[in-house]
């Protein structure tokens, strides 16, 4: 890879009391790439995601983010307003539970438009047109634009969350189990949607999942975590078809094949 990385974590360590959540983790993410972090629950996947996105401060180690103009920023040394601006424009965060991200008392259109307005959009017609466009892209019927999210199904909520996150065309999106808690057919459609959107908009994604199938379908590269360490990393097919670390072998062999 000759292109410079978009996001790099180096020597990340974090302890919660006596529990080691992260230990000497190095991660690299290139522009437009999808990196899956897999592992069983409690292995530190979500903690790593929170550290990479600046929401949690590591005990030591550093996370570098490269701006479009090639300037490097230490994510944890950024002043709060800068990080906040980044989070609401160039970055996005998709939660497992869309209710954490969506405003349940605000209409679908308002939810999609919020990031635009936070970024300074002040033209109602434009905001609404953009919101309509995004609802269409995530396959939500346009006449639901003024409905409250609580009238939406789980799959629709998750798609609405994705529309709300991607509306500002972020360069980097963090996803925490985006398909968790959805039934299988809805999952498949959602994965399809994420894959096409991310490829078309060339968004870099850090995806946390415990579902190997999701990782295989979406990710270019994969990092396997066990007890706060990355035990194996590489191209998705390579890691999943020819796992080297015993833990990865266990993980792959434990997947039920249909």
């Amino acid at each position: 890879m000759t292109e410079p990385t978009l996001l790099s974590g180096r020597g990340l360590n974090l302890k919660f009391g006596s529990i080691t959540a992260l230990s000497d983790v190095d991660v690299d993410l290139w522009p437009g790439e999808m990196l899956a972090i897999v592992g069983e629950s409690g292995s530190g996947k979500t903690t790593l995601l929170n550290v990479l996105s600046g929401r949690l401060v590591p005990d030591n180690g550093v996370v570098w983010y490269r701006e479009p103009d090639d300037r490097l920023h230490d994510v944890h040394a950024m002043p709060a307003p800068v990080l906040r601006t980044l989070h609401r424009s160039d970055w996005g965060f998709v939660h497992q539970d869309p209710r954490q991200n969506l405003r349940m008392t605000v209409s679908a259109g308002g939810n999609v438009g919020e990031r635009l307005m936070a970024r300074g959009a002040r033209h109602y017609g434009d905001i609404r047109a953009t919101a309509l466009g995004w609802l269409e892209q995530v396959e939500i019927d346009a006449n639901r634009i003024d409905d409250l999210p609580r009238t939406f199904s789980g799959g629709m909520l998750q798609r609405l969350q994705i529309a709300r996150t991607l509306v500002t065309h972020p360069r980097l999106v963090f996803m925490d189990e985006p398909t968790g808690g959805l039934d299988v057919s809805v999952q498949a459609r959602l994965l399809d949607l994420i894959r096409s959107l991310v490829t078309r908009l060339r968004i870099a994604v850090v995806l946390v999942t415990h579902d190997i199938a999701v990782a295989r379908l979406l990710a270019h590269r994969i990092a396997v975590m066990q007890r706060g360490r990355i035990v194996e990393t590489g191209l998705t097919d390579q890691v999943l078809d020819d796992p080297r670390h015993p833990y990865t072998q266990l993980l792959v062999s434990s997947v039920l094949s249909a």
């Binding site: 906040r84 405003r103 002040r122 109602y124 609404r128």
Partner: protein
Amino acid sequence: MKGYNFAYLDEQTKRMIRRGLLKAVAIPGHQVPFGSREMPLPYGWGTGGIQVTASILGSDDVLKVIDQGADDTTNAVSIRRFFARTAGVATTTATAEATVIQTRHRIPEKQLREDQIIVYQVPQPEPLFRLESSRVETKRMHGLSDYGLMHVKLYEDISRFGQISISYDYPVMVNERYLMSPSPIPAFDNPKMDMMPALQLFGAGREKRIYAIPPWTRVKSLDFDDHPFRTINASHPCGLCGATDSYLDEVVVDNHGGRLFVCSDTDHCAERRAAGHVGADGFREAAE
């Protein structure tokens, strides 16, 4: 008045409030916490405004107090009498003669001058409180100037009602930095705050906050480019003085659905009538 300090509050309290006021003036629109005192009137009746007034009042000041624009309602009469007794200051109902004007829910129709101070009574100083219940979070939003949420509220209004439906306490941006609640004045009065020559002080007693707008400061009502802020004028002239450009109250006058629209600013109305302006209902009154 014997047994009381000048203007009721003790000097230490006044100093504390003045320090808060100085900070508030230095950072237009920013809410400054202060140690609000128990006052001899209930919360919601103007405890914040009365403490600010007490702190800035001098013996040669002339005080005017209005409530919903009127000089003769209970709240206005009581507070005016309170300061007449505890400070012995001159009081007036004429806007032009006053040096300090304490107000609830209105700004006088007459343009204020540089040598005047207007003190607003504020029930809820936080413009975001209906949208974000956490004070910690709203403080952070003010600190980072993160006001997208307020526009989401305006967006929702337009998508639901076709227009921004806030008719009072309409949020404003002060000096292009802080989002501020103008207190429950009608949106009709918002444009008067912009570049006002007089100093504007806001006191919220129960919420223990002071904020201010220095003279000649930009105050912009939030809006969208394609849905600009506009004031809603009543479609009637004032029944007593015939004014078409003032804010009107609707008064039910009989049991048969009879209604009278009159200026809410009683001083403005009286002045116009003294100058010979008569409205439709004024003629009828004279005939009876």
